[in-house]
Structures are given as structure tokens and as C-alpha cells.
């Protein structure tokens, strides 16, 4: 009796495990893309003094979805410091959209050199992502490849900063209250890297990482300015979060020497400017990096 039962049980278990194994193997994790070191070929860009600017306004047509109230009761500290937290995916004031990420996606300078063929050195000054009141400030920001990103915790509670990029390594770090600032940087361009806190699951932010410094985030009145743009003709993209990958719209602009070009975008109802909604989040210029893994 006993021997037989052992056998039956073992056979059952082995069969089950094999089945499990087989199915687990056939579902190998995806998304562990290439490990190529970022390429740094191309000529170094030097400012010539005749750079121009790209300015514009991001409009939001129609009624934007109202911000949703966030329930912070899971961590009392959060409610004390910011009793009225709400979602920031659609911050619209007078028909103008805040937190759109605008950047040069493609194009060439006046002498015909593609933006992607230049190399730009990351500035030595850091950009800061602050956690205050269980809320990221700012909600959307830009950084250059390899530029130092300073992460500060201004709260009397612990946070957990979790970057979930597709094109860069995942990074997850706890930061207790009173802990010194953390620094992080990205080796590859990626528009945009989502940031979340696993401790306070409502905390969300985005970092647009580019190889060049030609990006900006729209202000409360929807305006943005990209400075120091060499004369040339470019594809400018505006990205707004929502859905799996956000929505991106593009248009072509020509920046005259020492002049200014305008790029106004509109999101929301019937705003079908250039670019299809739900466009993939593509790394701005490093296009060949993804696509094959």
C-alpha cells in the first residue's frame, strides 16, 4: 500500500512539475533587450553663436478628464503634508496643457548633418527629482544621457524610487526619511522613462532622456521654449502621457540662424495634428537601438 501511494504521488508531482516547467520555459521573459554599449561616434557639437529657439504652446481641446483624488490613507504622513493630492496626467488650465514633453526627434542642421550624428556632452549640473508630500516634483522632466539625476526625499517617510525603462536597466532603490540624496543616470536615450514609488503606488513621474539638450516641458500656461537650437530643419515631437505609451504628435519646423521657430501642438478632442495617437515611445534619435533584440 505505502509503496504504491508514494509512487502515485511522486508520478503525479513529477508530471505536474514537468508540465509547469515546459510552460514556464516557453514563456521566457521578454524585454531584456540589447546590451550594446551606447555608441558615441559622431562629431562633437560646438555652439557657433547663431543658435535659435523653438517656442510654442500646448493646447488641450475639449474637456479634459478631471484629475482624480488620491487616497493617501495608507501612509498618514502623506495626508498630513498634502491633503489634496490628485492625479497629474491631464493638468489643463484655460485650455492649455502642462507637463507635455517637447523635444527634437529628428532632423538636420543647416549644413545637412543629422542631429543624431553629433555628440553632445552632458552638462555637469544635475537635475533634481524631489519627493515632497508623497508626490514627485516635477511630474515630468528631461535629462541628457549620462547627466546626473539627483533624487531627494523631503518627506518624513520612506520612499522607493523605481525607474521602469524599456531601453535602460531597471533601477529600484529605497530611500528612508532623512537619507541623503540618491543619484542616477541613464546611458541610453529613452522618451520617456516612467518613475514610480512602490511604497506609495500613486506616485508617478516621467523622465525624458535624450542624447542632445533640445527638449523642454510645457509650463502651467502650456508654453515651452527650447533654447540653443542650431539653425536647421527638425521634426519636433510633443509627448503627453496616457495609455500604455502616451501620445506623441510631431511637426516639422525650420529654425533660422539666430531666430525663432514656432511649434504649437494640440491634444484632446479632434486634435489630429501630425502623428497618430498611441505612437510607440521611441528613443528619440537612437532609433536603431531598439527594434531588434
Amino acid at each position: 500500500m505505502s509503496m504504491k501511494q508514494t509512487k502515485v504521488w511522486l508520478i503525479l508531482m513529477i508530471a505536474l512539475s514537468l508540465l509547469g516547467l515546459a510552460s514556464a520555459c516557453s514563456k521566457a521573459p521578454e524585454g531584456t533587450s540589447d546590451n550594446n554599449a551606447p555608441t558615441t561616434t559622431g562629431k562633437a557639437y560646438t555652439a557657433k553663436g547663431n543658435e535659435g529657439t523653438i517656442t510654442g504652446t500646448i493646447a488641450y481641446n475639449g474637456a479634459a478628464p478631471a484629475p482624480k483624488k488620491i487616497d493617501t490613507s495608507a501612509d498618514p504622513v502623506c495626508g498630513q503634508k498634502s491633503p489634496n493630492l490628485a492625479t497629474e496626467d491631464n493638468v489643463v488650465t484655460n485650455g492649455k496643457l502642462e507637463y507635455a514633453f517637447v523635444y527634437i526627434k529628428d532632423g538636420a542642421t543647416a549644413d545637412g548633418t543629422k542631429v543624431g550624428d553629433y555628440t553632445f556632452t552632458a552638462p555637469s549640473d544635475t537635475v533634481t527629482l524631489d519627493q515632497s508630500g508623497c508626490h514627485y516634483k516635477p511630474h515630468v522632466m528631461g535629462a541628457m544621457v549620462n547627466q546626473k539625476l539627483n533624487i531627494t526625499n523631503s518627506d518624513p517617510t520612506q520612499h522607493n524610487i523605481h525607474f521602469t525603462p524599456k531601453n535602460n536597466p531597471d533601477w529600484n532603490q529605497s530611500q528612508p526619511n532623512g537619507a541623503p540624496a540618491l543619484t542616477h543616470s541613464f546611458a541610453r536615450s529613452e522618451v520617456l522613462v516612467p518613475v514610480k514609488c512602490n511604497q506609495h503606488p500613486w506616485m508617478k513621474a516621467y523622465v525624458g532622456v535624450l542624447k542632445h539638450p533640445f527638449f523642454a516641458v510645457s509650463a502651467e500656461d502650456g508654453t515651452f521654449t527650447i533654447k540653443g537650437v542650431p539653425p536647421g530643419t527638425y521634426t519636433v515631437a510633443a509627448w503627453h502621457e496616457g495609455g500604455a505609451n502616451g501620445t506623441e504628435k510631431t511637426m516639422s519646423v525650420t529654425v533660422p540662424a539666430s531666430g525663432s521657430a514656432k511649434a504649437d501642438f494640440a491634444f484632446g478632442e479632434g486634435a489630429t495634428a501630425a502623428g497618430a495617437p498611441g505612437l510607440e515611445m521611441m528613443p528619440a534619435i537612437e532609433v536603431p537601438v531598439i527594434g531588434h533584440h
Binding site: 505505502s2 509503496m3 501511494q5 508514494t6 502515485v8 504521488w9 503525479l12 508531482m13 508530471a15 505536474l16 512539475s17 508540465l19 509547469g20 510552460s23 514556464a24 514563456k27 521566457a28 521573459p29 521578454e30 478628464p65 482624480k68 483624488k69 488620491i70 487616497d71 495608507a74 501612509d75 498618514p76 504622513v77 502623506c78 490628485a86 492625479t87 496626467d89 517617510t157 520612506q158 522607493n160 523605481h162 531597471d170 533601477w171 529600484n172 532603490q173 529605497s174 528612508p176 512602490n198 511604497q199 506609495h200 503606488p201 500613486w202 495609455g243 500604455a244
Partner: protein, 307 residues
């Protein structure tokens, strides 16, 4: 036969069920990385359990308790249990719980890769099923000698039940993969979701026919009809919970944070899935115990052993 041993095994199985719920709560709250530290949480044994750390650290504490209970069970088995194979099964359970702790730590350290997280969820179900089996093997009903019933003609129940258990196990793995790769903001249904729904159809067919056959053929054998009825009821609940999980998840991408209706429904679906699996295992073990293989089955196994 030791009544205390059976009760203790039952306690371990119940604690494990509670642990599965605690683990499912971590996933539904997206709390798996509330700390990137392991085995300590933020360098502490008892951190302040606020925010999602409540779920993540709470799960660790329940898991520690189950680990200690399992050690207790193994000690108890080695003191009181005469059947060597049951003692060995206890050791296997202990190995399982240790591996499970390591997998849990690994998945935190590696920032929840799909394969490790899904393996952790899958091993959880296997461990649960081992503790349930230990309770079955130490129960009085298993140990009293009783006349064997003849398998009636037709497809032998032991095969149908085994197939049902195996399919449920596969379905649990697909479910775990689904949950740990969930991208509910993609166009639905995704391929994985369709696979899971296909799996649900297969489980319904196999477990449905196994239980209905038991209820028809062995209506006077409570040892079989009881788990069959429970399994059938749980299956219906599980299908409804699955549908509900789909609906709440599909509606969730614009939620500012994991909300209670979604958490409640998805955790219930995971927990009920574990119960469906466990009852099917109980049913299968008892079918092997109570039914003598019919001619056909004997011939079949003879043929497979030769071939």
C-alpha cells in the same frame, strides 16, 4: 494514526492558504518592491509598516510563520509518523518552503522579473498542494483500511482526475504569468489572456466531467462525493471571479492607484484558484486510494510499462 499530527498538518495547510492570500495582496497592491531589501526590510526586522510596506513586510511575516510551522511539522512527522514516504514528503515540503523564501528574495533583488515572480507564485501553489496532501495522508479516512471499489467501465476516473489536476496546475501558471506581466493598458484581450480563458475552458471540461462522473458513479461514497461537490462549486465561483477580475482590471489603467474593488476581486480569484487546485488534488488522491483500477486501466498500464 495520530490525531494530533493530522490536526497540525491541517493547521499548516490553512496557514499556507492564508499565506497565498497575503502574497496575492502584495501583487494586487503592486507592493512587491516596497523595499529593495531582503531578507531584512530596509535593514530592519520590524520596519514601520506604512504604505505598501504593510503588504510586503506583512507577507514576509506570514511566510516566516509558515516556515516555522513547516519545521514543526517535519519534527512532528519524524517523531510520530511511521510511514517513511510521508516523512519524506514532509521533508519535501520543507525544501519547498525554503526554496520559496529564496525565490521571493531573488525576485525582490532582481526587481521582479516575470520568470522569477511567476515561479514564486507557481511554487506557492505546489507547496500548498503538498501541505494539503500531507493533511490527507495523515487523516483518519486515509488510514482506515476499507474495501476497494471497482472502477466502473469507461474512461478510468484516475486518469480524468490526474488530467484535471495537471490542467489546473498549468492554468495556475498561466494565471501567474498573466498577473506578473499585466499590461492592462494594451488593447484587450491580449494573447496571454486568451490562453488563460482557453485554459479555463479546458479546466471546466476536465474537472466538470471528473466531478460529475464521481457524483454519478459513486454517489454513495462520501469520501469521493464530498471533494467532488466542493470542487464543482469552487469551479463555478472561480469562473465568475475570473470574469470579474477581467472586468475590474480592464477598467483599472486610469485609476490613480490600486483600488479596493480590483484588489478584492483579483485576490479572491487567486485564493479560489488555490482552493480549486487543492480540492482537485484531494479528490485525485482519494480516487487513487478508493478505486481499484479496472481491467482496462490495468491493461493500459501494463502496455505502457512494456512499451
Amino acid at each position: 494514526m495520530n490525531r494530533g499530527l493530522y490536526r497540525f498538518a491541517l493547521l499548516v495547510a490553512c496557514a499556507t492558504f492564508f499565506l497565498i492570500i497575503a502574497g496575492a495582496l502584495v501583487t494586487s497592491h503592486d507592493a512587491g518592491l516596497a523595499t529593495n531589501d531582503w531578507p531584512l526590510s530596509n535593514g530592519q526586522v520590524f520596519p514601520k509598516m506604512v504604505g505598501n510596506l504593510f503588504w510586503e513586510h506583512g507577507h514576509r511575516m506570514v511566510a516566516t510563520t509558515v516556515g516555522l510551522l513547516t519545521i514543526g511539522l517535519v519534527v512532528f512527522l519524524f517523531a510520530k509518523e511511521k510511514r517513511r514516504w510521508v516523512r519524506r514528503l514532509g521533508l519535501l515540503a520543507l525544501l519547498g518552503v525554503i526554496a520559496q523564501g529564496l525565490l521571493g528574495g531573488l525576485t525582490v533583488k532582481l526587481s521582479l522579473p516575470l520568470a522569477v515572480s511567476a515561479a514564486h507564485a507557481t511554487l506557492a501553489q505546489l507547496f500548498f498542494c503538498t501541505t494539503v496532501s500531507l493533511a490527507v495522508f495523515t487523516s483518519r479516512s486515509w488510514m482506515v483500511s476499507r474495501p476497494l471499489l471497482e472502477e466502473r467501465a469507461g474512461l478510468p476516473l484516475r486518469y480524468i482526475c490526474t488530467a484535471a489536476a495537471a490542467t489546473i496546475f498549468l492554468q495556475l501558471i498561466i494565471g501567474a504569468t498573466l498577473r506578473h506581466s499585466a499590461t492592462w493598458d494594451k488593447p484587450l484581450p491580449t494573447d496571454l489572456l486568451l490562453t488563460h480563458i482557453g485554459g479555463a475552458v479546458a479546466v471546466t471540461l476536465l474537472l466538470g466531467s471528473a466531478t460529475l462522473l464521481v457524483l454519478r458513479r459513486y454517489r454513495d461514497e462520501p469520501l469521493l462525493t464530498r471533494p467532488a461537490m466542493v470542487a464543482l462549486a469552487l469551479l463555478i465561483v472561480q469562473l465568475s471571479l475570473g470574469l470579474a477580475a477581467y472586468v475590474v482590471r480592464a477598467a483599472s489603467p486610469n485609476d490613480p492607484q490600486p483600488l479596493n474593488p480590483m484588489v478584492g476581486v483579483t485576490v479572491a480569484h487567486v485564493a479560489c484558484g488555490a482552493l480549486v487546485f487543492a480540492t482537485t488534488i484531494v479528490l485525485t488522491l482519494r480516487v487513487f486510494k478508493v478505486l481499484r483500477p479496472c481491467e482496462q486501466a490495468l491493461k493500459f498500464s501494463a502496455a505502457t510499462q512494456q512499451g
